[in-house]
Amino acid sequence: MDKLAKIVIPGDLISEKPLKIGEGVFIEDGKVYANVYGILDQKDRVRVIPLAGKYIPRRDDTVIGVVTEIDFSSWHVDILSPYEARLHIGEYPGRIDQSEMSCYIRVGDLIVATVLDVGWTMKVDLTIRENQFKILRGGKLVEISHTRVPRLIGRGGSMISMIKRESACSIFVGQNGRVWIQGKPENVRLAERAVEMVVREAHTSGLTNRVVEFLNANK
């Protein structure tokens, strides 16, 4: 994505040929239009990368959630989305008793989880079996727009690996836009500023180099 990234608004005509389309567009009378405010990308397929919008969970997404409530069989988890997610007791790695649920995961805990399923009416189920389950403690939570997550991770994880390395922090990015940073306080502050920089300049060219420069200059 270069400096001259083309911004489109909902309803803009993008292409007269409805071939290979991606997100953020719709077809009407054989023509492709943008349905969201964002950056036009025509590299592999025609799509619009949104500049804003709420996180809508998709199956297999890894998210950072906050436990808000415990009922008789599941933890209710806020995932920075219009839809609350549920983590059923059966998804906990290992057998536990209903009466002990709050001993394992408490209200207010920050957890890393995977979206197991999204139902027809947007009923969202999580699981923590697949990845190594952890409760995030002692770091700093930063919330960014989920639309910037792909850029923050970078191609093949290049951007986030670089930030981790240069800032000497452990960083975890949820696809829902929650970022958790752990390290020495001054390093955490540095990493946070690098994340902010990526969020702001997500759609400009030469960003990785600028972030490296920034991190080196401020170490």
Partner: protein, 243 residues
């Protein structure tokens, strides 16, 4: 006016120097509020309005939700100090009706089925009113919706036409509205040309109506360009703000 005491044209131009088919000056700025998911500040003639969009978000009260799509809610509110004589705060019958027709003007472009069980809330606050506040509110709300990243099949744009001294004109100002013979607010989707709101009161012949619709559509096309510019400018400003 019919009795000829007051005239609205001088040398073919209107009181404020405009031609019959000319809009009042507009200024549109997107993304002006920090907490809202999307926002817009808009000035149109003497109107100053602020629009904020929240959502899609959980619906409260819960029973109002729809399991197949998002509900859109639209609240138009006039600040008590927006008019010469202080307006009593809170919703009145006029603002209830304006909220309803404005919501209906916007609903058809929103891809509501993407967000079952949620609400998309639009709040329009009129800070200073001239004539045409509902159109100004819709224009601002439309930009705020896009700014919030809500998927839509196009923006909605609105302006009014009216009749003064027996002449059909675009975009009445306050004096014209107070003494004019008709006022017709129109909203449309410039991309398709479809009309999404029309109201009329006053006195018009069928031919005058058709003539006025032509003016309103041209007016909407011009406003639409300003809406799009505001959104593009917002992104550029975000980039500039980096240092």
């Amino acid at each position: 006016m019919a009795d000829g005491v007051y005239t609205f044209f001088k040398d073919g131009l209107r009181l404020d120097g405009r031609r019959k088919d000319e809009l009042r000056p507009l200024k549109i700025e997107a993304g002006v509020l920090k907490r809202a998911d999307g926002s817009c500040y808009l000035e149109h003639g003497g109107n100053k309005v602020m629009a904020a969009v929240y959502g899609p978000r959980e619906v409260h009260p819960r029973h109002l939700h729809n399991v197949t799509q998002a509900i859109v809610r639209y609240k138009y509110n006039m600040a008590s100090f927006s008019v010469d004589e202080r307006k009593r705060p809170g919703p009145d019958r006029r603002s209830i009706e304006i909220s309803k027709v404005s919501r209906e003007a916007m609903e058809s472009v929103v891809l509501k089925e993407r967000f079952p069980r949620t609400a998309i809330d639009v709040f329009v606050e009129v800070l200073q009113s001239d004539a045409g506040t509902r159109a100004a509110g819709i224009n601002a709300a439309s930009v705020a919706m896009a700014d919030a990243g809500i998927p839509m099949k196009g923006l909605v744009t609105s302006c009014a036409f009216g009749k003064i001294d027996g002449e059909v004109v675009l975009d009445l100002c306050k004096e014209e509205d107070n003494y004019g013979e008709a006022d017709v607010p129109v909203a449309m989707i410039p991309r398709t040309g479809d009309i999404t709101m029309i109201q009329m009161d006053g006195h018009l012949t069928f031919d005058e109506f058709k003539e006025g619709m032509k003016l309103a559509i041209r007016g909407c096309d011009q406003i639409y360009e300003l809406q799009r510019e505001a959104l593009i400018e917002k992104h550029q400003n975000d980039l500039k703000a980096k240092e």
